[in-house]
Structure formats: structure tokens, C-alpha cells
Amino acid sequence: MDALTIHQGLVVPLDRANVDTDAIIPKQFLKSIQRAGYGPYLFDEWRYEDRGEPGMDCTHRPKRQDFVLNQPRYQGATVLLARENFGCGSSREHAPWALLDFGIRCVIALSFADIFYNNCFKNGILPVALDDAAMDQLFTACFSQQGFQLTVNLETQQVSTDSGLQFSFEVDAFRKHCLLHGLDDIGLTLQEVNHIHAYEARRKNEAPWLFQA
């Protein structure tokens, strides 16, 4: 996983609430056994006129011109804005994989669904929750300024613009630590093997039926 400390990038505004993971990456792409290659199919049903299939070359597929990701001014965006409950529905980690493969490193929304929020951190994407007023300001600025960029500083937990807007966000200390250093949490947990063995030894007496081969 790539570490993330300070990220600056072009912002794309997806002005919708309850964006579900079925929309982020439709089911037909879940047949892959890889972790990469989902970027061209991100938001497939909203992005293209035709029905996408895995393995399809997307360069010549007809695009829906009214969908924000297709607008020329947002090409190359790495920060996504959305409204409440982003990433709801299915637990598919293919959703953050698709966002990452497309180039998104930070999603800023009013709120996130739990599993999606967690999955982002495992993949080097920073999900930032801001309040209503902040989201409104960011959407307004993004719509009104061509090339609108944001700087997201995980160290100081702040989102800022060149023009002087600045918002603080909350992030759990452990997740922050892992993302700042690009740490794999399996390795971290394995440092606690003694605790796991001790737990199992105790639990075997309490609930032996859980330890049958």
C-alpha cells in the first residue's frame, strides 16, 4: 500500500447522496481475480452509454456526456467530492480498488458507509468526512472554478485551498499511522501472536465446541 501524507490534486464533484458500491463498480467486473485493472470501469453504468463487460477496451465506448467524470475540465482528478453515505451497500473492496486504479487518492463526503470507509484505508485512499457547510463550500468552489484543486494534509488533518478555505477533519489514530507509513496491518497484528495464543488457550476451556477440528 502506498503511503499518503500530503496530497494535492484536481477535484471532481459528484453531487449525489447514497452513492452505492454497485454504482462505483458494477457486479460484472467482480468476476476478476486481480486487484488492479478496474479503473476504466469505475462508475461504468453512469459513465458509458453501453453495457460494460470485463476485459472491454473502453477507449472507444460511447460516453454519457452529462456525467461529471466525463467532463474535460475534470480529467486527471485525484480528489472526489460526494454527499452523505458514500460507499453504501455491498462490501466489495473492488470499489476502492476501482477508485484507486482510476487515480483517486482522497474522497471527501458528508459521511461514509462503515465497510467502505474501512476498505479505503487498506488501499491507500483517504476518506475525509466534513460537515454540511464545508461540503457546500467545496462543491460551490469546485463548480465555479476551473481547475479547482485541494490540498489534503493527513499529518495536520486539514483540507485546504490556495484561496484560503481550510477545514479540519477527524481520523482515527491507528488508521492515520498506518496510512502515513503505508503499513500492512497483518504484519502489525502478527506482533501480537502471544496474545492470540493466550486467548485461544483460555477460550478452549470456556467454549470447547469452537475448537473442534
Binding site: N18, K27, R35, E45, R51, S91, L188, A213
Partner: protein
Amino acid sequence: MGQTLFDKVWEQHIVNQHDDGSVLLYIDRHLVHEVTSPQAFEGLRLAKRKPWKISSIAATPDHNVPTTLREAGITDEIARTQVEALDSNCTEFGILEFGLDDIRQGIVHVVGPEQGLTLPGMTVVCGDSHTSTHGAFGAIAMGIGTSEVEHVLATQCLIQKKPKVMRINVEGNLAGGITGKDVALYIIGKMGTAGGTGYAIEFAGSAIRSLSMEGRMSLCNMTIEAGARCGMVAVDDVTLDYVKGRPFAPDASQWTQAEAAWRQLHSDSDAVFDCEINLDAANIAPQVSWGTSPEMVVSITEDVPMLTQARDSVQHEGWARALQYMGLEAGCKIRDIAIDKVFIGSCTNARIEDLREAAAIVKGRTKAASVKQALIVPGSGVVKAAAEAEGLHQIFIDAGFEWREPGCSMCLAMNADRLEPGERCASTSNRNFEGRQGLGGRTHLVSPAMAAAAGIAGHFVDIREWK
């Protein structure tokens, strides 16, 4: 101060308490399917790791499997590769798998409880959001992403922060024909799809206790649709009766000890919750979703809402998009909505009781001519065999419904079972998102009896008036 059910199970699984408030939580049961596991097994191999506790894992293919002509194998090459990857990973690591040729194969959330792999007081995880289903047994059951699947495989643990705990009390008697599915949809309609975010929910009250295990599973299954981390129901005689004698349940030599432990799995009378909601069972009518989110749901007696009823501009816009996608007029009667297809299946409603309820409606009648297809997809090979032993399959076939092989099928349409653009479906599944059942398909979430009745009438009807 007393403990909640959630607190009790949580505490029993703490391996290590971290300084930042998170815990290392031990996982008792890890269910695996073909879609969210290949990258996790690959990760294990790359890091030269092995599964920590093989006996905690059980696998079955479900999302990608065909529901017709099993003998022919899977013709979709990419789907076949994925199912074969599950087979070979299970073989390589020595994991118990109910493969396509095993009668025990089926939807992972139907198979776990049915085999006694899901037990009271367990922590259960699966790389699938509807793992919440297993909370019906007084278990903490959570859906996880693929990175966490790998984490559990490698360490038997998850790093977790304790969620807040909410109790939803549904008191009183449910009217005839009202199922766990209607209760679930009713609650989501009230709370919204983000209403449970950050919470574990305990369902309690006399109406919940009156539900069968099947009904409780349908209810807990949809907890994720309310945004909650998990849903739970306290253990009682109904739970124990269901579990006893299942293939992987404790045998007689351990039953007494297990039962004694499980009898403790309820919230203490003086337990304190972060939030409590009280609902009256008498207010719950058969539910029908009209939009593209499970919270867009009303009673069969109601109308599709007017945009002026939206609480704010965000909801107004969401409703407008949903109406357009669904091809519905605001204010139209739910009973006037005509359907093209029926889907009875999924981890919400593909258990034997669900099929019995649907069959009771269908018996001696025929599918409306305007309904192009009505699929019955049992949740597992065991459910299918049980239904056939009771003759339910013949009732469906005689009525013009199709009797299929077990799998997720048209719940998410990864296989050939899907809606075509613009087709409208009465579905017993759990999600009505845009494109969920096929690109451009329109889903109305209902109970099995409501779906069956719609298939006969050609439009939605009030099951309470079915004669």
C-alpha cells in the same frame, strides 16, 4: 450496570485491548465465497503465510454460479475461472468447501446457519455485507472487505473499534402475512439507509421474539441496508431448537455446556443502550419499495410519495432521480404498478419457510400472462431438496414459475439471470440500487408472499386480502 447482548459477545472475543481504544477481536467463523476471496488467498501466498485456523473456515461458491443445467458446468469463462480459483485455494489450504457438485452448496448466508456452522455467541465474518444475517443467532456477524478477509485468514483476528449499540424494540402482534422482511423494510423506511451507521443493532420486543429463525435471519440480513455494522437477536428456545442437531453444531457431549453459555446471550434488564427506538408491530403492513434505495419504501396501501414530501433538497433530488429511473409517476398507487418478472430467492428470502409462504399463495393458480418470467431460486441444495420432498417445486412449476438450482442468481445478476433494461421485478432480495438486477432493471423489494402474489396478479396486491 448490566451488559447488552452485544457487549457480552464482544468482551468474550477481545484478544488484546490497544491504547487507542481499538481491540484485537478473535473471529470464530470465517465464511468464504468466490468473489471476494481470490485476492486474499493470493496475498497470503505472496507473503508466504498460512491460514491460522483451518477449522474456522468454510467456503462455497454462490455469486457466480449458473442456476440451470449444472451438468454443463459454468460456460462463462471468467466466472468459471473465479469458481475454479476458489476450488483450488480450498484444496491447497485444506479448507472445507461445499462445491458445485455438493448438495450443501448454496448462498453462503443460507448455508452457514443450515449446517450449524453459525452458532450463538460466535463472531462470524465473511467478505460480504450480508454477513449481518448470522446475527439472528445472537452472534456478532460482520461483512468485511478483501483485505480483512486476508487479515482474518492470516491472524484469526480483526482490528476493531467498538461500535455504539442501538436497540430497536418492536412490541405487539404482527398481522397475519407480515414477515421478517416487512419488519426490516419498515424499519429501514423509518431510519434511512444511513440511520444505523456506526451502530450495532439489537432487535428486541415481543414481535421479534415471535419470529422464526428464518424471519430473524431476513431481518438481520437487511441490517446492513440501514447502514449498521451488524444486527442481533437474543438467544431463546427458538434459536436453540434451530441449532440442535445441525451437522456442525456441538454434539450431545458438549451440548449442555454450550446451552448454558448460550442462555446468557441476552441483554441484561438494566443494560444501557446508546440509542433506543420503539415501534408498534400493529403499524406494520406489507412493504413495497418504490425507488432505488431500500429506504424508498411504503406500505402496500400507500402511494409513491410526492416530491413535495421530501425533507430536504438532497432527498428531493434523490427521489426525482429514482422516479425517473423506476419509470414511475409520483403519487401513483403501489397496487397499480404492473410487473414483468418475479424473483424469489437471495440470502434474504430463499430458505424453506420463504418457499413455503410463496407456494401457499401460488397453489392452484397460474402466473399472470403479462409476467414474462418468475424465478424460484432456493438458497441451497439442502433447501431445494427439502422443498422437493414437500412437493413445493411442483406447485411452482404448475403455476408457470421456474424452479432453479441454488445461488445468488438475480439478486445481483452476475450470472445469466437478470432483468433487461426497463423491466420491472417483484423481488425478495435486499437491494434495489440502479442496475442491481441488470442494467436498467427496476427492482421492487417485497416479501416472498408479496412477490408470489404479484406474479399471479400481474401487479402488487395486499397479501392480507389474498383469498
